[in-house]
Symmetry: C2
Subunit: 252 residues, 2 copies
């Protein structure tokens, strides 16, 4: 185990060994020349326009993939239309489930999205022949589970203001990670979601989202540039508003 872990760890987080994120984060086969060639031959790209559905719940899905650029969402709905977002897919996140060809959630592109895809069958075969692929996928799934549980705490117990602050902090952390910087001090982000989508993510209404953003602005926690760009004069202050301890607890 340890050897394999070290092999994989060397590609974690920062190092990317090509143009396809699957190579370092989703499923890295860099260390195995044969597998690399196999992955190269298998992969193909698909792109989606803002608002365009990627798959619909219940639909057949014959590929898995990971996000190269853009932002996509996973949502669930009740019969009467109440909607809850259950996943936010940012670059390097994985979409689809091995060994299940029916999508369990609606996946929608919220910005222009490029996916790096693999046909399901050969990908599943690859998972069987290369343990690293299965191990990496397990690691990623466990991370997602941790994130989901963090989100359960937010949905179940945080106030609207804390929810908004938590959301902004998450986006800021992931944005910072993408540019290999540490979040802190003064920083700026662009919101990848509309107020309505944020509401669906946070278990709120869009009016409440709007009001709380205005309140955070009034209180000097954030500044707005237009509707979509947000500046944090002091990132620590934002984190203090989020209800979490300083480290944020978000493992990703």
């Amino acid at each position: 185990m340890t050897q394999i872990n070290q092999k994989i760890a060397s590609h974690d987080g920062q190092e990317r060994c090509g143009d396809c994120p699957i190579r370092y984060r989703a499923v890295c086969a860099h260390c195995e020349a044969d597998e690399l060639a196999l992955l190269e031959g298998m992969k193909f790209y698909r792109s989606f326009e803002p608002g365009q559905p990627i798959v619909w719940e219940g639909e057949r899905m014959d590929f898995v993939g990971s996000v190269v650029t853009g932002v996509a969402t996973l949502t669930q709905m009740l019969d009467d239309g109440r909607t809850q977002m259950v996943g936010l897919l940012l670059p390097s996140d994985f979409l689809g489930r091995p060994n299940r060809d029916i999508a369990a959630y609606n996946a929608v592109a919220t910005t222009r999205v490029v996916l790096c895809c693999f046909r399901r069958k050969p990908f599943e075969a690859l998972m069987c022949t290369t343990p690293q692929v299965a191990h990496r996928l397990l690691e990623m799934t466990l991370d997602e589970l941790d994130a989901a549980r963090e989100w359960m705490l937010l949905l179940g117990r945080k106030t609207a203001r804390e929810k908004i602050a938590s959301f902004l902090a998450i986006i800021a952390r992931r944005e910072a990670a993408l540019h290999k910087r540490d979040p802190g001090g003064r920083m700026r982000i662009d919101l990848p979601l509309t107020r309505e989508a944020m509401a669906d993510y946070l278990g709120l209404t869009l009016e409440t989202v709007s009001r709380q953003i205005s309140a955070l602005k009034r209180d000097g926690v954030i500044e707005l540039v237009g509707k979509r760009a947000v500046i944090f004069p002091d990132f620590a202050r934002l984190v203090g508003e989020s209800g979490n301890d300083a480290d944020g607890g978000y493992p990703r």
Copy 2:
């Protein structure tokens, strides 16, 4: 892949090939005599009394394991004491995360619990040498992720009444699966949690839980025997109250 899947599938759900649930649900090595012997040599049992903590968040945890009997909970807390349950561990559920020795959540036994445990190091080694173990664990983790997402929908968008009905339906389904029956018609379950623990699971207060249970009783959806036993005169009626479509959507 397919061969391995078939091998494993034969032990799924119903068939149990020994006294340890890890053998059919968590990590089945039945088909490999050597691995079976290895698992036999590795496993040991630990039991916990009601209310006793299993591990505390941040504590070192040098084992993983699966629940043999009883019910345990995973909870997260905010600094000010607000508590959210993020997992309910019933028999055959897995506890602990490979490749992480610091517990991320508080795990507490709510009834008398028996765990079938494996020391972390040899278990991780086993995961590397036997792909089935890693595959099975991936399957289980993906199921847990689905359940967590279903729970996010509940926490974010359901009313108190729907939350209670959903919770009762989940317990009933898992109870039925344990006794190899289909849930339906008239059935009876014993609640494994106090009102307060249910509240922490559902993102409510214990008073609201109590009131909604009383309301469901008044409306004839459930009958109570004492405080902890619940009878559903008509299981379909309960499901109708839960906000979910008939199949429940719960993949486990």
